[in-house]
Every structure is written in structure tokens, then in C-alpha cells.
């Protein structure tokens, strides 16, 4: 009797586990499908894209759309790609360097008005970024920076949230280490560079990843300050593709794949760090 009861319980557990997996697998299919479908449409011959029944598995795969994306006169996708890489990299390096340097200053150094300035930073965290769009645009215009990368880089290098975040991490670095270094005659900058930064690596890496992803994916600001076709970044380039070639779906999808593949590969490589980074910082990469 008892044995029978146990068996039934085991069966019940097994059923629950099966259900659990079934739900997760179904969800995986639903979540993964749009990305799969983007790739499929991009390698479907133009004539078949609008034909029903739709082909869930491409029977005549073709790479003509990828060739076309690279050869059309008004689609400078290789150039946009380089632009995105260059701009995002510069923004990330500047932003992480400045945020960490400043965070160290606020966490460890004494200077008059420090707490007041920090309070001002905190205050601006509450104000949504949209408020500064118009004034910064007018300022950039006044500086003659419209349609140059200065317009993207300098405003993009300021991250109040980054300072705030890193300050918290730096404050947890043991003071004794710094004292020891001071005794050995290290300067403040050297302590920051050789002790505090390496010890806060997890936070620095997380910030680096999310600033990069944010810069790479930004749409609004490049849309507003860039005008020339050859200066655009990938997301703005994609809107051109979507706007001009609505009728050529496979071509649009090929462009979308080219724009998305790098971030997806980047994510696949660093997924553990990225997910840990979200847990650590509460940032999301947008």
C-alpha cells in the first residue's frame, strides 16, 4: 500500500517536471522564433517572400539580399557598421573612464563642496533624459557639431548613473589596501588605477557592456543630430532601409540581420557576464 502510494507520488513528480520542461521549451520556441524568422526571410528569394503558404524552412536559400545590401548605392551598410563600432567604442571608453575616475573622487577624496555636488548629481538622476534633448541639440548646433561624431560622443560620455553605481562599489573596497599603497608612496591616481579599478572589475565590466550596448542601440539621438547618409549609425540606417524598401522585405531583413548579428554574437560570448551584470547593477543594456 505504502509502495503504491510512493509510486503514485513519483509519477506525480515526474509529470510536474515534464510539464515544467514543456512550458519552458514552448516558451523558448516562441521567444526564439522571431530571431529565427528574421534569418529565414533574409535568405528567402524575393519572389517567395509574399507567397503563401509561407516556408518555415527555406527551400531555395539565397544570399542575393546580402549582396544587394552591400552594393546598393543608397545603402552604405558597411560604412554604417564601421560608424557604429567606432562611435560606440569611443563613447564606452570615455564614459567608463570618466565615470570611474569621478566615482573614485566622490568615494574616497576630500574636497570642498563634494557632498553638495554629489547631491546635484543625484537630483539630475530623477530628471528624464528627454528634458535635455532640445537644449543639447541647440548647443551642439551652436558649436557647429551637427552632423559630426562630436554630437554623439560628448553627450554620450556623461553617465550620472555610472558615477553613482561605481561610487557604491568603490566605497566597498577595503581602505587598508589604499592606506598600504599610500605608505608605499603611490599617488592617488595610481591607487585608483592599480588597486580600486582591478578590485571592482565586475562592476566595471558590467558598466562597460551596458554602456556599449546602449550606445550601439541608440536610435533617437543619432536620428536627430546626424544628417549625412554616410555618417549614420546602424539603427538609423535601418530606419532608412525600413522606410525606403518596404516592398523588399527580404532585403530589409538582410540588413536587420547584419545589424543584429554582432550584438547577438557578443551576447552569446559574454552571456554569463551580461546576466550577472544585470543582477549586479540593475542596468539592462538599453
Amino acid at each position: 500500500m505504502r509502495q503504491k502510494h510512493m509510486n503514485r507520488y513519483r509519477l506525480y513528480r515526474f509529470f510536474l517536471k515534464f510539464l515544467h520542461y514543456a512550458v519552458l521549451v514552448a516558451l523558448t520556441i516562441v521567444v526564439g522564433f522571431p530571431i529565427y524568422w528574421m534569418v529565414v526571410v533574409s535568405i528567402t528569394p524575393s519572389a517567395e517572400v509574399y507567397r503563401w503558404p509561407l516556408q518555415l524552412w527555406p527551400t531555395n536559400p539565397t544570399f542575393e539580399h546580402y549582396r544587394e545590401v552591400f552594393t546598393r548605392q543608397d545603402l552604405l551598410i558597411d560604412r554604417w557598421f564601421v560608424n557604429s563600432v567606432v562611435v560606440s567604442t569611443i563613447i564606452t571608453v570615455l564614459c567608463v573612464f570618466l565615470s570611474s575616475l569621478t566615482a573614485y573622487g566622490f568615494a574616497r577624496l576630500e574636497f570642498p563642496g563634494r557632498d553638495l555636488i554629489f547631491l546635484l548629481l543625484l537630483f539630475t538622476l530623477m530628471v528624464p533624459g528627454q528634458v535635455t534633448l532640445i537644449p543639447v541639440f541647440l548647443l551642439i548646433r551652436g558649436l557647429g557639431w551637427l552632423d559630426t561624431y562630436h554630437a554623439l560622443i560628448w553627450p554620450g560620455a556623461v553617465s550620472v548613473f555610472g558615477v553613482f553605481l561605481l561610487r557604491q562599489f568603490f566605497a566597498s573596497v577595503p581602505r587598508e589596501l589604499e592606506e598600504a599603497a599610500l605608505m608605499d608612496g603611490a599617488g592617488r591616481f595610481r591607487i585608483y588605477w592599480q588597486i580600486v579599478l582591478p578590485l571592482s572589475r565586475a562592476a566595471i565590466v558590467a558598466l562597460t557592456i551596458f554602456v556599449f550596448l546602449g550606445a550601439w542601440n541608440d536610435l533617437f539621438w543619432p536620428l536627430v543630430v546626424l544628417n549625412s547618409l554616410e555618417l549614420r549609425t546602424l539603427p538609423v540606417g535601418l530606419t532608412v532601409l525600413q522606410g525606403t524598401y518596404t516592398q523588399e522585405r527580404a532585403l530589409v531583413m538582410a540588413g536587420t540581420v547584419i545589424a543584429s548579428a554582432p550584438v547577438l554574437v557578443f551576447y552569446a560570448i559574454f552571456q554569463r557576464r551580461i546576466i550577472q551584470g544585470v543582477m549586479l547593477t540593475g542596468m539592462g543594456g538599453r
Binding site: 509561407l54 546635484l120 530623477m126 533617437f220 530589409v252 536587420t256 545589424a259 544585470v278 543594456g285
Partner: protein, 312 residues
Amino acid sequence: MSTELLTTQGHTSRQYPRTWRTPVYTLTNYLFILPFLILFVTFVAGPIFYSFWISLHDWKILAKEQRFVGLANYISLMQDDIWWIALRNSLYFAILTSIINTVFALIVALLVNAPLRGRDFFRFVFYAPVVLSVAAMGIIMSWMMNTQFGIINYFLVWLGLPPVRWLADPNLVIPSLSLATVWWGFGFPMVIYLAGLQGIPDHLYEAARIDGANSWQVTRHITIPLMMPSIFFVFVTQLIAHFQVFGQPYIMTGGGGPGRSSYTVIIYLYQTAWRYFAMGYGAAIAVALAFVILLFTLIQFRVFGRRRVIEY
């Protein structure tokens, strides 16, 4: 903010605390924050005040002198039907998306938090769409939701259901954008929840097990109550983020269509400032938007104090 001065106990020949306190050192300390501060004042703090100043003018981008109009822009805004439509749409989208994301991401987080073979793989897949740009996501989803050629309708018809005019129906367009956004973004709150779930001590679960509670009871009476701070944090931050929606309608519905049924505040701001170059009115829209968001933020601050980073 308990940063005291470094104190050494005087057992070395060099007197650090003394040099430390000299004004020269204090001033060089400014060098650490100076580069950031210059950019911060130029691109963040200054513009916040400048924005308000611009909104008090009839600001034309090409004019030599800007005409001061006082609060006229705000008064027009309050009587502007388009503003109210845009505000309504943004709120509708934000509330709908945030509720779905908050609940759905929690369910998924509970599913992938259980000790299960391959759960890292599931987490990997569920977070993946988050790294896509809104442009890529919008292009993919608008094609899938296409009424005539979209694959979602293809499946519906295949199942014997009537096709749905996802982005073409004025009543469905915002829920559709919401759905697309949930696909794109639920991985982010999911990971926030996972961080929260890790912080629940094991002995609570063990105690419940010993008392004979089943999984559902454990979830209902231990996990959910302990997760309430995370749930609330996710909801409010999602609300703030999605209220500022721009990319989805810009890409997926041609900037707010059909008609104005998905026209949002940021789209209105974009068109006012960069299509009609009415910078004064645009600035007024931005400031009004900031006030709405400030309301959300205050709710968040009331509950969380000054913390922006979640700690468990």
C-alpha cells in the same frame, strides 16, 4: 557618505594625514571629478535649466532673437488635443506593458529559478531579445504582425482562426506594440527577479517543506511575499521606461498610426522639435513629460528611499 580622512597611526616617517589636509591636495582632488563635471554641467545640468528657459519662449531655430512668451506654451499645451491623445496613448502603453512584463517575467523567473538541468540555456534564450536594438526589433515584429503577409496571421489561419489586423486596427495597435515590447524586453525584469530570488534564504524553504507545504504553497506564501520589493521595483521602473516609448511606434506604425492611435508623447516631441522646429513648444512638452515621470519617480522614492540600485 561616511568618507572620513585616511588616518595612519603615525608609525611611519611620512605624515600622510597632514599633507592630506593641506589645501594643495584638496584642490588636486578636484582633478578627479573635473573632466566629468565639465561635461555634466554642459550636457546635463545646464540643459535641464535651459530647457525650462526655452519653454518660456516662442523659440524659432533660425530667429536672431527669441520672443519671450511666459507660460503661453504651457497654456496652449493644456488645450492641445494632440498632447492629451499622446499622453493617453503613452500611459496606456506604459501601464499595459509594465503590468504584463511584471507578471510574466516573474512567472518565467520562477520557472527558470527551479533546480533544473539546462536552466542556464533557457535564461540565455529569454534574455537574448533584450540586446537587439529597437530598430531591429521593430522591423522584425512589424513584419511578423503584418496583416496580409505576417506569419502570426498565417498561424492563426492555419489553426482555423480569423486573421487579426494587429498594427492596422486603431483599437489593437497599442496592445500589439505592447506584445512586441514584452517579447523584446521581459528578459530584463526576469533577471532582476532572479537576483531577488537568490537572496531568499534556503532555510525558509526548508522550514516550509518540513511543514509539508507543496511547491504552490511555498511560492504563494514564501516566495511572492518576499519578492514584493522586487516586484514593485520592476513595475515602477518599467512604467517609467515604457512611458518614454518612441522607437516602437516610430518604426512599426510609421510614427504613430493608424491615424494617431499609437501617437506617443516622445513622437509628438520629436515631430514638434525636429519636423516643425518649434523648439519652445517642444521644450514645454519635454518639461511636462518630465513632471509626469517625476510623479512615478516620487512613488518609487517613497518606497525605496534613495536607492536606485537594488540590494538584497
